[in-house]
């Protein structure tokens, strides 16, 4: 654990990308294979699931620290992170006996994984013993691992760069090997950094290529003819892998979504083996797209029943072909991949070829983009026709060119602390608009202010708190903010009867008084369809 703790300290102690890569590379050069495998597992955001429950962990913590439950909860609310709160409180305990040195693999494989089958008393015994015996400086990491909430501000890309630097294996190869399912351990790590990839996993997807927002005028991209324009759909980005008679559907986050979209898996049987399609899962009936709220009914449903399959049907909007007849196509130009894609998915049920939006020049394309909303899309995607399929978010070849959002002026009503690095600032806000003489909440927004504004608003909230409901505070209705959002749909779950999509703060309207805020009626007028 010591080496991993040292790595964590170095990653946490710098904001420099290069310094993080160096820290990672240094670690992987010296770490034992088994430890390195687990380090990759945690650093790539994977979690040990179902070890112990958060509630039982809190119970053991209260027992161990002897704090009154309310004082423990207040401390937790102040720190904002359970693992950190626990570490800060536990460090206060007896320093004697904190001499248990375990390697990361010993800790995980020897102590933690066996907890899965164990009874509550056995789980408690193991965790509280480790709390008492691990060196104080390892408690935070240990708690992060146990609570399954390990995040250190290292992106997959940085991790891959660090591994590449240490192993000499190419970044693209490493990124690909890190996709899909694998069991961390010494063998996994040896395969990960081995020069040649003997045993390809048949389920393994490719790293997703991501677009960057286009902020400049598109004219800077050169001639419109060099670009493929298509609608920017708002669904679940996915990769459909068809190999050896089996189908695997992957989310962008690297989750295998098997069983969730049985109609797409069934449809994929019409694809030849060795085919990988990049696309977007959309709620779609025979004629066209359904509201995003329909898709939401499918999200998180692991085994949808017949009724939901009927009322919330989906389709795959195909964007790209990454593998054809078992050959990796990613280095080939997009125009070629698209041609092959059209051939391969022709006749495959529930699989649509993303429409190419053709325009003679940029102004004409910009005019077409204005139709985006009426087509239930967010704008256009621009992809360079001779570009390869890259890895991660690399600027230059793929751009998302969204339509300008809707805006509304709304009044701040409630605030609560954020998470992670904003855990002790009020950064989660609820906004309201006028419904007659009442202010009704219509949107929650978490982003859009700069750090200075956040801190200023945080102070204001603390001084203008009216009531407290747990972590939530209601504030005097005095401040007006302009919110940007993508659309409005009816929502019986909200008191206002509507829900806005992707609300975020556009700016703090210090020039407006509360009476100047918008009305619910205006918002209802924007309801899609």
């Amino acid at each position: 654990m010591r080496a991993f703790a040292r790595l964590f300290e170095r990653l946490d102690g710098t904001t420099s990308t290069n310094a993080k890569v160096d820290a990672l590379a240094d670690h992987f050069r010296i770490a034992e294979d088994a430890d390195a495998g687990w380090a990759v597992f945690f650093l790539s955001g994977r979690r040990l699931k179902r070890l112990v429950g958060a509630a039982e962990l809190r119970g053991w913590l209260r027992e161990t620290t002897g704090l009154a439950p309310w004082l423990f909860e207040e401390s937790y609310a102040h720190v904002g992170d359970l693992a950190e709160t626990a570490a800060l409180l536990l460090e206060a305990g007896d320093p004697a006996g904190r001499e248990l040195e375990l390697s990361l693999a010993e800790l995980v494989e020897g102590r933690l994984l066996p907890l899965r089958g164990a009874g509550p008393e056995a789980r408690r015994a193991v965790v509280t013993e480790l709390w008492a015996r691990l060196p104080a400086e390892h408690l935070f990491l240990f708690n992060k691992i146990v609570t399954g909430a390990f995040r250190v501000g290292v992106s997959q890309r940085l991790l891959v760069r660090g591994l590449a630097q240490a192993s000499g294996v190419e970044e693209e190869v490493l990124a690909h090997r890190l996709m899909g399912h694998w069991e961390p351990g010494a063998d996994f790590y040896r395969r990960l950094v081995s020069p040649d990839d003997g045993d390809a996993d048949r389920s393994r997807p490719y790293p997703f290529f991501l677009a960057s927002p286009l902020e400049e005028a598109p004219e800077g991209l050169g001639s419109v003819e060099e670009w493929l324009a298509e609608w920017k759909w708002d669904g679940i980005r996915a990769q459909l892998v068809r190999r050896e008679g089996r189908t695997y559907l992957w989310s962008r986050g690297g989750e295998l979504m098997d069983g969730r979209f049985p109609e797409l898996e069934a449809a994929a049987e019409a694809l030849p083996d060795g085919t990988v399609v990049d696309g977007e899962i959309l709620a779609w009936d025979g004629d066209g797209p359904l509201d995003f709220s329909v898709l939401q009914k499918r999200i998180g449903r692991k085994a949808p029943g017949p009724k939901i399959l009927r009322t919330a049907p989906v389709a795959l909007m195909a964007y790209d072909l990454l593998e054809d007849r078992g050959a990796d196509l990613r280095a080939r130009p997009l125009r070629e991949r698209r041609q092959l894609l059209a051939q391969r998915i022709d006749g495959v049920p529930r699989t649509l070829l993303s429409e190419t939006v053709v325009a003679a020049d940029w102004p004409a394309l910009a005019a077409l983009r204005e139709e985006a909303r009426s087509r239930s899309t967010e704008g256009l995607m621009l992809k360079r026709l001779d570009s390869p399929y890259g890895v991660g978010r690399r600027r230059g070849d793929w751009w998302k060119w969204k339509v300008a959002p809707h805006t509304l002026d709304a009044v701040l009503l409630y605030a609560q602390p954020g998470h992670g690095r904003r855990s002790n600032l009020f950064t989660d806000y609820t906004f309201a608009v006028w419904d007659g003489d009442d202010l009704v909440p219509v949107a929650k927004a978490y982003s859009g202010l700069d750090q200075q504004e956040i801190e200023e608003l945080d102070r204001w909230i603390r001084r203008h708190t009216r009531e407290r409901f747990g972590p939530v505070r209601s504030v005097a209705p005095e401040l007006v903010f302009e919110l940007a959002f993508e659309g409005v749909h009816p929502s019986p779950r909200h008191k206002s009867g509507v829900a806005v999509r992707f609300p975020r703060i556009a700016r703090w309207r210090r020039d407006l008084s509360v009476r100047d805020a918008d009305s619910l009626e205006g918002l209802r007028g924007l309801v899609d369809g």
Binding site: S75, G420, R459, R462
Partner: protein, 346 residues
């Protein structure tokens, strides 16, 4: 506080002692002000007359103006007030910081001002003053705040400075200009004799500490090095307000750190974007707050600053009469940073 026995009342100008007709750390203009210490949220301009502990006199003059009507008194020496006996006692917060003890008709109230119990070579150590009512600060009143040993923190700072030097980078350490900077300079002397560079806002304050006989590392103003100076391997102290300013541009490739009690929480370290956070506070941590309240034997505790609710509830559960006192003293970290960084940059 409406009880007739109260030696202090909260007015909209500040904490007022009717029996002695003076205020403690008032925030609006009043004729007579007793000041616990020189931080901006406690020592405000515009009072008719000031009293403070003798070591704090040059600090108040620096911050409020050279000619303000101000008397310094030694710790334990009574102030020239009729009817009430008022004495100042070490608070261990910064140079010249004092608790205010007020005795009247057999009752004793003590206002802690800001205080800490941890060792600090730059000021007199906190003195436990027995009292009936204790007005305490509660800036860090959560059990998660427990300070590490300052010498150990200074060793970490020194280690970071060495790492920066090895990498050919400047190390810019943000800290409050009054108190924290001097404490760091004193603690670091255990590890090196090397010169430390100062932001302009700190130069006079460091000199005041030197004049008071506090041993610290040698220092020099950044501006003395002139244009194009090489800062690689140098340690620079600056107030938090200098972060992100034009002034910072000269420190190319600098690693940045922040020394504050708030750095105990990782979220604070990360969102402020400093490379390193060092846990060093001039306020009482949770164990110190609890211990001090126990030791001073107060039957009643009034809590100011910050997290009063938690402390008040905790004390009530432990049989101590306690209530929050709404003051505008350093309500949150930002205020403290602002107040202390509001140093005139001369």
């Amino acid at each position: 506080m409406t009880d007739r026995d109260a030696l202090l009342e909260l007015t909209d100008s500040g904490l007022y002692c009717p029996a002695g007709d003076f205020h403690v750390d008032p925030w609006k203009r009043v004729p007579r002000a007793v000041i616990t210490h020189g931080h901006g949220d406690h020592a405000r301009p515009g009072m008719g007359h000031y009293w403070t502990q003798a070591d704090g006199v040059p600090i108040l003059r620096k911050r409020l103006g050279r000619y303000v009507p101000l008397d310094g008194v030694a710790y334990g020496e009574p102030l020239p007030f009729d009817a009430v006996r008022v004495t100042l006692h070490p608070a261990g917060h910064i140079l010249g910081s004092a608790q205010v003890r007020i005795e009247h008709e057999g009752r004793v109230w003590v206002v802690s001002g800001d205080f800490k119990r941890d060792r600090d070579p730059t000021c007199a150590p906190f003195e436990v003053v027995p009292c009936d009512t204790f007005v305490t600060e509660a800036t860090f009143a959560y059990p998660v705040y427990r300070w590490p040993d300052a010498a150990e923190v200074a060793r970490e700072v020194h280690g970071w400075w060495r790492e920066c030097a090895d990498a050919g980078r400047p190390a810019v350490l943000f800290c409050y200009a009054l108190g924290k900077a001097q404490r760091l300079l004193a603690e670091l002397a255990a590890y090196t004799e090397e010169e430390v560079l100062l932001h302009g806002a700190m130069v006079d304050l460091v000199q005041i500490y030197r004049d008071a006989g506090v041993a610290m590392l040698p220092t020099r103003a950044v501006t003395e090095l002139g244009r194009g100076a090489d800062f690689a391997g140098r340690l620079v102290l600056a107030p938090p307000s200098a972060g992100g300013s034009k002034w910072m541009r000269r420190f190319k490739g600098a690693s940045t750190g922040f020394a504050s009690g708030w750095m105990q929480i990782r979220g604070n370290r990360r969102r402020r974007g400093y490379d390193r956070g060092f846990v060093l506070s001039d306020h009482a941590d949770w164990p110190s707050l609890v211990r001090t309240i126990e030791e001073c034997g107060a039957r009643r505790v009034l809590a100011t600053h910050g997290n009063t609710d938690v402390l008040v509830r905790y004390l009530r559960e432990h049989g101590v009469e306690a209530a929050p006192l709404a003051t505008p003293y350093g309500d949150e970290e930002v205020d403290e940073a602002q107040a202390e960084a509001a140093e005139p940059n001369d």
